[in-house]
Subunit: 161 residues, 4 copies
């Protein structure tokens, strides 16, 4: 059984850029949305769902909802790990959950969720393509620490929510 | 009685920058956090609470929580109004609520809330200074469409939440 | 005769956003490229050349070259004026020059130039459309403090270059 | 003899973020300034000059001048290498030169230079600390393909300028 930590692509490393800091001396809070985006596209790409590829087919995944909790600031030049997982998959939406932790001591900096809707290039809602949905479902089950045939949620399933 | 619309500083106008668009053809979703920040600092400054001034006194207001709902995209060069109001004030936190609407037709593009915590320059929690708190309380009541001595919430009080 | 200052759209006002500051306590130097872009699109739009409109016709104006000189920092919440003018127009390129000055005291913060090339939507070079070129030529002459039939450069013609 | 390519820290890899794209479908041109900054801080840190460390000592290196030439666009999700080298060191300034190349085919996307000035925390000019200057001088000579005792410039010394 695979733990959430071991899902390929579930951890993206970024280094806080000077341009991302603000005068409080940490990365400005809006950057986490860019980092989480980096995390989910990495998770998807490594597992065979290329967001760039979806766009080439005229399929978009705009963000419809985002929630962020900030705990500690991320300092300039610090390494930060973005841990991404699929939290929920529906026919037209997918929700990812994220943690940003400082690489040095794994201190939690922030966590959050984003819900994406599947649309065509005119932003009309449509179903997530079957292949992508299957991968997302597998990633969701893996994140729950389940084997793929197992419907029982892991105890820590909702630790982000 | 003042309506929420008439509170000085409650509407900030921005024009969507090319640099803010992404390849989906609209402003990237992270920019709303910068726009909302612009909205709340404008609301505060116009009403006598300068965020720059607070920082000079060693008082910071980092964002602890943010929620965003996205409805429609904001196109390049479009004028967008950010409507900001105080939703909740506590001794150490203040929550602002926002709407981003397209100026041309007042279509709702996004809405959201951010909760800020009051800290000293070492990011230790502290009480919001009394002067600032009084202003924030007044802004909250004004946003609720109440006269200042009136505790009955206006019917649309919770339209954001 | 119109002076450069009086050209409609030649001055764009921005307020430095918190998100634009860095931990040195001023707007990060990359933001000037976004501000200059805001300046030139304002200058063009007010004078009848909509960049959004050009894009709808499949005409792009990507930046091919940029130069920036930084003199003083722009502080959070400060009002900054971006003064934009057309410096050179050729069949396939146009160069804009900019000054960023602090509104309060008109202190020079930065100046720069950007050269844009005209391309089709596949980024192949093409001529600037005749209408746009005519406007850009007029803006160039106006910036030089010339009447349109006057080839003698104003004394301060090259103050940016 | 070390070639410029082999200088530790002279190559930084970034992946183009969705948030960095604009509606032309490539990374917005301002991001290169953030990427170049990432490149030079990596080059400095790996060679023993921590920019974060300098700031802790009250020494800042704000950008005074920047020049950028753009050749091709950087697409979303593409890997880009930033090659950084020291081009010139003076007592109070240091100039870095950069190339951004697409990792896949090493196509040149952009190149540029930035000149930084050394200041104290009040932005007053000061000399670059001796230790940092020595490292920067070594990096300059290494970039020129010279052994450290060799003053003859390599033939391709000025290929960026």
């Amino acid at each position: 059984m695979m733990t959430a930590e071991e899902i390929p692509g579930s951890r993206t490393e970024i280094r806080v850029r000077y341009a991302e800091t603000d005068q409080m001396g940490h990365a400005h809070h809006m950057n986490y949305l860019a980092w989480f985006e980096l995390g989910r596209t990495e998770l998807m790409r490594v597992n065979g769902v290329s967001y760039a590829g979806l766009e080439d087919e005229g399929i978009l995944l705009p963000v419809a909802h985002a929630e962020l909790d900030y705990r500690q600031g991320a300092g300039y030049d610090e390494l930060v790990w973005i841990r991404s997982r699929v939290k929920q998959v529906r026919s037209r939406t997918v929700t990812f959950a994220y943690e940003a932790v400082r690489a040095e001591d794994e201190a939690l900096l922030a966590r959050g969720t984003t819900t994406l809707v599947c649309t065509d290039s005119d932003l009309r809602l449509r179903r997530i393509p079957a292949d992508a949905q299957r991968v997302l479902e597998q990633l969701k089950r893996a994140a729950e620490g389940e084997s793929s045939g197992d419907d029982v949620p892991a105890p820590d399933r909702e630790r982000f929510s």
